[in-house]
Amino acid sequence: MNNARTLGKLHLAWLSLLALTLLGGFIGEMWNSGLWVSVTVALIMAIKARLVIDHFMELGDAHPAIRGLVRFFALFFPLLVVVTYLFGDQIAQLTGL
């Protein structure tokens, strides 16, 4: 029963990933990147990553060092999408040669 429930969650995760991929593509084609598009795209990135981490990689009960690092990776870069939109000029100044 537990296995059936977990398999059900796996199916749902896959279908969600397919749907979110199509949504992301649709957003990219229809709208230019303003703040809310950047926030939406970042959110979709983070949700998709979390679906893979939790249901494909099954890191929920994995070693904290593994779980923490992968979740950080999946959260940091979507966040950077929004940070770059808001503070692009400052990032350019900080990273200039």
Binding site: L18, S38, M45, F56, D61, H63, F73, G88
Partner: protein, 194 residues
């Protein structure tokens, strides 16, 4: 039934430590490339706003669907081996392999389309250079993953994995899902955000 204290004292390492050293290296490699992407985007906002429109969104979406579906099939293979259904595991791995092979095929047609439309990196366009180094590096990792998938398919076929012992398959699955995860970051950065 596993006691909570036992799980806390012996946290699970999916697959084996060696594979996770490799995955850490992969994540670090792409983390550095992503940081360069964001720095480049900050320095050249116009190039990165116009850049995605040069690319084939169809190729990007197709490869994303390919990667998540292949990952799903690998996850199904792991479920099967845990239930002791070796032949079912083999069938899911075969499905994952056939699906995964679509990725380099789509990439081939995508690059051919790119070159025909002047997206060949020769103009010094910073977006094009960023797009190529991210996606070609990812293609290398997918290729390694496909070789690894062929290996675990062989191991499954020879009966090397069982309900009690399938760490090798689990280790491979972790690598493949990590490679999928990286693509889920790349896709919006180069194909969507314009």
């Amino acid at each position: 039934m596993v006691e909570k204290a036992e799980v806390v004292d012996n946290p699970r390492i999916p697959g084996n430590r060696a594979m996770w050293v490799g995955i850490y290296a992969e994540l670090t490699e792409f983390a550095l490339m992503f940081l360069v992407y964001f720095a480049a985007r900050s320095h050249h906002p116009d190039a990165f706003r116009d850049g995605p429109q040069q690319l084939s969104i169809l190729a990007g979406i197709t490869n994303t669907l390919v990667m998540v579906t292949s990952s799903y099939f690998v996850a199904r293979a792991l479920f099967a081996i845990r239930a002791g259904r070796n032949q079912t595991c083999m069938r899911w791995l075969a499905a994952a392999f056939v699906t995964g092979m679509a990725y380099p095929l789509v990439k081939f047609f995508e690059v051919r389309w790119n070159v025909a439309h002047g997206v060949d990196g020769s103009s010094g366009d910073v977006f094009q250079m960023t797009y190529y180094y991210l996606t070609f590096n990812h293609l290398v990792h997918v290729s390694w993953g496909l070789l690894g998938m062929a290996w675990v398919m062989f191991r499954t076929w020879t009966g090397a994995y069982s309900v009690q012992q399938h760490h090798g398959l689990e280790a491979f699955a972790s690598y493949w899902h990590a490679t999928d995860l990286i693509w889920l970051m790349i896709f919006p950065l180069v194909y969507v955000l314009n």
